[in-house]
Symmetry: C2
Subunit: 320 residues, 2 copies
């Protein structure tokens, strides 16, 4: 089943989200408007808005309130991607030229800032102070995660816990916040809010580990960029950490540097793939998934719960 | 009289602001903490916090509420400076190496993001939705202003209104918002809020024009960077626009480009200074100042009003 099919009962609401996304980034400045629309139209799974909406389905769900939070979360995610592309010097994202490639780094930085500011503007429609507290705390952690990721680049002596802390900040907390904020906005019981947060956290961890695995095993066509990009850029992900446990592969990996020959990188990627590191990584991802599914069992039965379960299963098996 | 002397009655509150600034940027990540502290310790006039506090003095002033807004405004200003330095490729700010010079561009971008996120976190202590609306709208305009500034660089066919719109977004709106938010936070009457906003707007316009004049007439020692930097970077400020009205100087100015010889730039700066453009610019700055002082007359008499008047006069005469 395709991801979008799983939440087809939300279709009309997702359309409202898409429309609100476009309306929100409208800018007087043609350059800014073009850059923002370019980003929107490159697509994306809109998984954060979906989590917001599903979280809201456990309470008093009003799409015209929910949409503010759902769109804000997607915009924050997009803004962080734009800034990531500046840092990573990325030319391609989702098979499309990045803003920094199409315009330049300066435009990309301020487009990120702008999209972020627009998301805050949307959030002012939400009066619950708790929602603002959760969101701003999450954004602080996201920024700390980004800085840590830079600091940890090409640092081959790091541990599993460094990696897990990084992906928690970089990915899992924003997904956890999406689920929780949906619930907070819809005035869901606090105990359910907390469980949705935990569900989002575990799913987010699993999601990012799968992403990091796919960077090794995915094809260029599916990834929209060449495989092994993370390692080449010095991002030490879970498969790399596991592969470094192998004494023969370790000295090969620590040789990786930014301007390494493509053939050499391809050879090291093959070594990592053959080391069993992929399988071990998938096992860790699965473990988080099981935790997510366990939490779900404690939630009241409804269509949203069933959908969250489907999405979690999908994330565990996704190939893109 | 020195600026700080004018608001010496706020001294103990300013100390609380400084302390809160330091506490707010504390980061688990040593790199992030160092970079943020480096920025704080480079000083600055803290003029935005002072405007917040003075705005609050027209109403129910509680420093432990006010400080959240005052510090948030200063942090937002600082975050925008850090991102500016990335864009301008600046090595020096306030006589200190910039974050991008001391670390690198990637660290600078995320330090800006981080400081900004921390300011939002502080703002969650303020429950009045109007405060959040004003702030987020201002930040959107700030970002639009930044993008417009990039777009308008080295564009010699622009008009006075382009310049005025740019400095409005870049500077005046944030100062206007500082005055207004102080008032909003202290539950000041709406009519007084609006007048404080207008006062801040006019002062901000005057302030930025003076800044742009000082970039031509200031000494390197006072500016903390070589004179004429704006023009060299393609920022067409008011003195440049006035000088271009002179048919003999016009063709010299449009030759300016990024890698121009320093002697050549120095010669063009001299031409601009001798063209009468500085005096004309100062006259415009003064006109905004008069408007600011006129608005003040409509406000209830108190110490804050007197201080706002002193600061406005100071801004009109400042040499740094």
């Amino acid at each position: 089943m395709k991801l979008k099919m799983m939440y087809s009962f939300l279709n009309s609401d997702i359309n409202i989200i898409e429309k609100t996304l476009e309306e929100t980034v409208v800018a007087e400045s043609p350059l800014l408007h073009q850059a923002s629309l370019h980003l929107l139209q490159a697509g994306g799974k809109r998984i954060r808005p979906v989590f917001v909406l599903l979280g809201g389905k456990f309470g008093n769900y009003d799409i015209h309130v929910m949409k503010n939070v759902a769109v804000a979360l997607e915009l924050i995610h997009m803004a962080s991607l734009v800034h990531d592309d500046v840092i990573d010097d990325a030319e391609i994202r989702r098979g499309q030229p990045t803003i920094k490639a199409k315009w330049d780094n300066r435009i990309a930085m301020y487009t990120g800032d702008y999209i972020f500011a627009r998301s805050l503007e949307l959030m002012t429609n939400i009066t619950n102070p708790l929602a603002h507290k959760i969101l701003s705390d999450t954004i602080v952690e996201l920024c700390v995660g980004e800085i840590e990721q830079i600091k940890d680049k090409y640092r081959f002596d790091q541990h599993l816990r460094d990696y897990l802390r990084r992906i928690k900040r970089k990915t899992a907390l924003l997904i956890a916040a999406s689920c929780q904020l949906g619930a907070v906005t819809a005035n869901v019981d606090e105990s359910v809010q907390k469980k949705l947060y935990q569900f989002g956290y575990y799913v987010g961890m699993s999601f990012q580990i799968t992403d990091d695995v796919l960077d090794f095993v995915g094809t260029e066509k599916v990834l929209g960029k060449p495989a092994g990009g993370d390692l080449l850029q010095g991002n030490i992900t879970l498969p790399v950490l596991f592969a470094m446990e192998n004494e023969e592969i370790y000295p090969e990996i620590v040789k990786v540097h930014e301007n390494m020959d493509r053939n050499e990188i391809v050879r090291i990627i093959e070594l990592i793939k053959q080391s069993g590191a992929i399988e071990k990584s998938i096992a860790i991802s699965d473990r988080y998934l099981v935790k997510a599914l366990d939490i779900l069992k404690e939630l009241p039965d409804n269509r949203a719960k069933k959908t969250l379960r489907d999405i979690a299963h999908f994330i565990g098996k996704r190939k893109f």
